[in-house]
């Protein structure tokens, strides 16, 4: 078993709290760490990889703290979001160096295996300085896989990766999860997480906002109230009509004109609005969804 455990973990830098009291358990299978930029995902992964100490709480692998515990790296493969430099080494030399540093019995064979898994055998003789971003990403992944670790941590692995490589990477991660490895990757894109992860941990503003399988998270997000801005020529009349509707949760009059409407079923609302307006003789001048962003979804999950 390779289980990562965070127990009331916090991390702050002076006055800025990057991670705020997060507890979670990451076990075998693929787990997606989902959250907007700046949510604390990289900080969490850095702590799980032993490259950042928690300010409070603990971060452990199978019960042992990871910080300053060099032996833990036998079990962990890390794919950081940092660009890979080492431009003066060829792909093969770099992976080989990784294999040797892990003290593997047959570094040559492990190198070739890792290169084959990420489909980088052909360009392996060229220097990393000549590689494209996608190729560097694959080399990073190979370096994390060369010692066959039971735990794989990937920080925004799909960033800047072209669609074909993304598909390849996704199937690779699914396969690793199916083999029983503990795979954790972070992303701010719902669809990426949806296609790969069984378990999703949502992190927003350093807090653990939600946890569950993808279906649960999706439902949580689509069941939220949706807000619209409606500008008409007779706001109060429209408001009184709207508040009578079952799917409308709240209506408020804006001082500058227009209504802010929160609905629980936006499909029904959008169908119903024109009918209501015509019945009351109200002309709709503007209809705009006012919080369509992922950030607002995340904010909602945190309780905003």
């Amino acid at each position: 078993m390779s289980v990562l455990s965070l127990d009331a973990t916090s991390r702050w830098y002076g006055n800025v709290v990057a991670v705020n009291g997060i507890s979670m358990t990451v076990g075998p299978g693929v787990t997606g760490l989902l959250g907007p930029n700046g949510a604390g995902k990289t900080t969490l992964i850095a702590m799980m990889a032993g490259f950042l100490a928690p300010s409070a709480g603990s971060v452990t692998l199978d019960g042992e703290r990871i910080w300053r515990h060099v032996e833990a790296y036998r079990s962990i493969g890390l794919v950081p979001d940092r660009e890979l430099s080492f431009g003066y080494l060829t792909g093969r030399q770099f992976i080989r160096a990784n294999a040797e540093l892990h003290g593997l019995d047959d570094p040559g064979a492990a190198t070739e295996r890792a290169l084959a898994v990420v489909d980088m055998v052909e360009p392996a003789e060229r220097r990393i300085g000549t590689y494209s971003k996608g190729m560097r990403q694959r080399v990073k992944l190979a370096s994390a896989l060369v010692h066959d670790p039971p735990v794989l941590l990937l920080d925004e692995p799909f960033n800047g990766v072209d669609p074909r490589q993304r598909l390849h990477l996704m199937s690779l991660l699914r396969q690793m999860g199916a083999e029983g490895r503990t795979v954790l990757f972070s992303s701010h894109i719902l669809e990426e997480v949806e296609q790969v992860a069984r378990q999703v941990e949502v992190v927003v503003s350093g807090r653990h906002a939600a946890s569950g399988d993808f279906g649960q998270i999706r439902r949580l997000m689509t069941d939220r109230p949706v807000r619209y801005l409606v500008v008409s020529d007779q706001d109060r009349i429209l408001a009184s009509a709207l508040i009578a509707e079952a799917g409308v949760l709240s209506v408020s009059l804006r001082p500058r004109g227009g209504l802010e409407v929160a609905v629980s079923d936006f499909g029904a609302f959008v169908m119903r609005l024109p009918t209501l307006a015509r019945e009351r003789g109200v002309r709709i001048l503007e209809l705009t969804p006012s919080d369509d962003s992922l950030e607002s979804v995340f904010a909602y999950l945190v309780g905003g």
Partner: protein, 235 residues
Amino acid sequence: MNPTILRISTKALLGSRRGIVMSLIPACLIVLAILVRAIAGAGVGYETVLSLGYTLALPLVALLAAAAVLGPEIDDGSIVYLLAKPVSRHTIARSKYVVAWCATMVLGALPMLVSGLVLDSSEPVRALGWGVAGAGAGTAYTALFLALAALTRHAVVIGLLFVLLWEGLLGNMFAGVRWAAVGAWGREVGAAVSDWVGGSDTGLTYALIASLALTLASVWFTGDRLRSFTLRGDE
């Protein structure tokens, strides 16, 4: 020491821009020696040229070597690939030190010897004295600058200031500085080999012990900094 780290660090050194500048410095020194010899004859300007080499060229080479072997990887965070391994941080520090030390010996201390021989081949022991002084100081300088590179991204600037101000300017003004100046210790060691090298009156034993202590402490410190290497997020 780890052979893989030795190999990677050597490649980093040889391929980098700093590595190229580093090779130009001893070349300039030797060329200068040749010119002085050609223009002024044997023995003239010996002290001047070798002092220049000792107080400027040698520490500069040590600084560039240490910074090239550790700096870029820490600056861009890619050292994380070397650190995410079950290898002791002190082993990594020691291996990088060895590579930088070899560069300093070959490009810093050896050229001192060569320049001395160029300027006056009839006094080989004198040249050897300077070479030994360079080797002693170079050993300590490399360690010190390696620790500096592990500490800050501005290692090269701070190292230059240290060399010019502390060891150069203040060292010339105040005699007391010699107890805490690598250059002074190196001279004392060189003076033991040849009277031509002006010693610094700290005593050979003190000079040797101080150099050794600084070297060991600096390499240990580098390893310790690597143990606490931190990956920060964008937040």
